[in-house]
Symmetry: C2
Subunit: 337 residues, 2 copies
DNA sequence: CCGCCAAATGTAACTAGTTACACAGCTTGT
DNA sequence: ACAAGCTGTGTAACTAGTTACATTTGGCGG
C-alpha cells in the first residue's frame, strides 16, 4: 500500500529496471526503434505501458536545446484582426511542428516587456511582437537571449528587428485619397487611442497631405460602442463633415450603426470609410468601403519567417505587404451642398 | 578569435568559473539573492552580464517538474466567441503565472488528439478542450499523463472530465420558447455543421419540445456569408416561416443582412433570434435578440479551475453557467397572417 | 576452428540547473 | 575563554533524458 500511495511519475530508469535493460535501450526504443531487437522492444514497450511512462518534455528539451515554442505578444485577443492573424500564425507554425504561446499586453509596453520575460522563462525560441514601439527592456531581452524576434503590423526596413507588415501611413493615405477623389473637403477622422499605438499614429501621419480638405479629429476606444458615440459627436458639430474616415473598421461599424439610428443616409448624406477590412465589413449595410490589411498573409509570412530563423538560422529581411482600397457602398461623391 | 567564433550560450558553471565562486552561489544569486553577500553578488552579477548568461528554462523545468504552460484546444481562433474566451483564459492564467499555448483543431477530433500530443510534448501541465466529443486517443493521453484537463462550452456533470460551460440544449430551448411566447408557429432553424459538433447537436436537441410549432432546418457554414445564403433559401420557400432561429449569432447576422437586402422587415415580417450574444449583436440594426453565452466568465472560471488543479491538486467539479435571453429588437409578436 | 564483422546492448558521461549537507569563519552568551 | 549559533560558501548528488563509446554475442567466411 505504501508503495502505491503516491506513485510519482515513472522515469527512464524505472522503465529500464522493470524491463531488465539499460536506460540507453529504453531511449532507443523511444527514438530509434529500428535499432532495437523485437523481443527487447516488446519488453520495454510493456514496461512503459505498465508504468504509464511518459517522457519528460523538459529533459528532452535540455538535451536538444529545443522547446519548439514560439511566443506572440499582441495587444488583445478580443479583436477580430488579431485573432485572425494569430489563427494564421498558429496554423503555419504547426506545419513547422512549433507551438504558439499567446500573451496579451493591452497595448502597454511595460506589460509587454514583462510578458516577454515570462515567455523567455518558459523557453520560447522566438518572439513575435506587434508594432515598433517597445520598452528598452524588451530589446535587452532579445539581445541577451539572441532570440529570433520579428515585429509585425508595421513595415519599417530601418527598424532594429525585421518587420513584416504594411505601410500604415500609406493605408491612411489611400483612405484619405479615396475621399479626396470623391471631392470631399470636410472630413472627420475617428481614431483609436494614440498612447503607445504606433500603427494609429502612422495612419494619422498618412493624413498630412490633405490638399484643400479640412480635417477634424475624434479619439475613441476601439469598440463599436465608441464608434457610435464618435458619430454622435460628429453629427452634432456645427459644420457637419461630408465624410468620416475611421482608422479602424470597428469604429466605422459603430459610425454606420449610428448613422442608421439617426436616419443619416450613407453615402448620400455622408460617406464613411474604414481601415482593416474585417470579415463583417463586406456585409454591413451599406457595405463598408475600407482599406484591406492582409492580416492572414501577414500571419503566414511571419510564421514562416520566424520558423526559418529558428530552424535554419536564416534571419529574415522585412516584408512589405500591400494594402488595397476596397471600394464598396459606404462612400460616394460629395453632393453639392 | 577561435574562442569567440561560435560562443555558445553560457551556463551556470561558466558564470561560476568567471566569478570565482561555486555553481551553488550563482544559483543562489538567481533564486535567493538575500542569502548571498553583497560583494559576491556583485561579482556574480558582473559575470552574468559579461557572459550574457540566461538561465535555461528546460533545466529549471527539469528540476521543478514545472513548465508553467497550459494548453488550450479550440476549433478555431477566427471566431469572436473563441477569441474572447481565450482572451479571458489568458488573462486569468497570467495571474497564476501560467502561460497559454493555443492549438486549433478545425473541429476535427483527430487533429485535436494529435495537437494534444504536441502539447504534452512541449510539457503542458494542463489541458483545456472544447466540448465533450473527442477521440479515445485524447482520453488515453490525459489518463496516461495524469493531466489535469477540463472540457468547456458544454456542461455535463457525468462527463469523464470536469465540464465548465452552459446548457446548450437549454440555450436552444430558451430561444425557441421566446419565439413560441411570441406566438410563432412556423420557425426556420439555421445551424452550423453537425459533424463532431456536440454544442450544435445539443442546441438542436433543445428544440424538440415544439408545442404546436412546425420547425424546418437549414445547415450552413459558420459565416456571415452562409447566414445570408440560408436566409435566401428560407425566403424563397413556399411557406415562409414567421421566425428564424439561428444557433449562432454569426448566422443571425448574415440573416439580418439578407433581410435588409431583400427589404424584409425585421421583426415585422419575420423575427430573428440568435445564440451567443456577440459584441456586435447589440449594435446590429435591428439589434439582435439572442441568448447570451457567458464566454468571458467561462474563460475565467476555466482558467481558475485548471490553475487550482495544477497548483494545488484541487480537481474541480463542473460548473454550470447560466444562459440568459437578451430580448432586443429583432423579435416580435407574430402578426396575424 | 578461428577470426572478423555487425547487430544489440550496456556503461557512463554528458545536457544545465537546484539543493541537501558540510564546513569555515565570525559573533555572541555564559 | 570556549561553546554555541549564525552567515556565507562549496561539494556533490540529485532532476530525466540523450548519446559516444565500449562490450557482448552470434553468424559467416576462410
Amino acid at each position: 500500500m505504501a508503495k502505491t500511495r503516491f506513485r510519482k511519475r515513472a522515469n527512464l530508469r524505472d522503465v529500464a529496471k522493470l524491463a531488465n535493460v539499460s536506460v540507453a535501450t529504453v531511449s532507443r526504443v523511444l527514438n530509434t526503434p529500428d535499432s532495437v531487437a523485437e523481443v527487447t522492444k516488446a519488453a520495454v514497450t510493456a514496461a512503459i505501458a505498465e508504468l504509464r511512462f511518459v517522457p519528460s518534455a523538459a529533459a528532452r528539451a535540455i538535451n536538444s536545446g529545443r522547446s519548439r515554442v514560439v511566443g506572440a505578444l499582441v495587444p488583445t485577443l478580443d479583436h477580430a484582426i488579431f485573432a485572425r492573424y494569430l489563427a494564421a500564425i498558429e496554423q503555419t507554425l504547426s506545419g513547422y511542428r512549433l507551438s504558439l504561446v499567446v500573451a496579451t499586453t493591452k497595448g502597454d509596453a511595460a506589460i509587454e516587456a514583462e510578458k516577454a520575460q515570462t515567455l523567455v522563462d518558459i523557453g520560447a525560441e522566438g518572439l513575435i511582437v506587434s508594432g515598433v514601439t517597445h520598452e528598452p527592456g524588451l530589446y535587452d531581452l532579445i539581445e541577451r537571449c539572441q532570440l529570433p524576434a520579428v515585429a509585425t503590423s508595421y513595415y519599417d526596413p530601418d527598424f532594429l528587428l525585421p518587420t513584416i507588415g504594411y505601410d500604415n501611413a500609406g493605408a491612411g493615405r489611400i483612405a484619405l485619397q479615396h475621399l479626396l477623389d470623391l471631392e470631399h473637403s470636410r472630413i472627420a477622422v475617428v481614431h483609436g487611442s494614440l498612447i503607445g499605438n504606433d500603427r494609429t499614429l502612422a495612419r494619422l501621419k498618412g493624413l498630412e497631405n490633405t490638399g484643400d480638405a479640412e480635417l477634424s479629429f475624434v479619439e475613441a476606444d476601439l469598440s463599436i460602442e465608441d464608434g457610435c458615440k464618435s458619430a454622435q459627436t460628429i453629427l452634432s458639430a456645427a459644420h457637419r463633415p461630408t465624410a468620416i474616415l475611421c482608422l479602424s473598421d470597428v469604429l466605422a461599424t459603430g459610425v454606420l450603426y449610428e448613422m442608421k439610428r439617426q436616419s443619416v443616409e450613407v453615402p448620400k448624406d455622408v460617406s464613411v470609410i474604414g481601415i482593416d477590412d474585417l470579415p463583417g465589413s463586406a456585409h454591413a449595410s451599406p457595405s463598408l468601403t475600407t482599406v484591406h490589411l492582409p492580416v492572414v498573409r501577414m500571419g503566414h509570412a511571419t510564421a514562416v519567417a520566424i520558423s526559418e530563423w529558428i530552424e535554419n538560422g536564416l534571419k529574415p529581411s522585412g516584408m512589405l505587404l500591400a494594402t488595397d482600397l476596397i471600394a464598396r457602398e459606404s462612400t460616394g461623391v460629395r453632393r453639392p451642398a
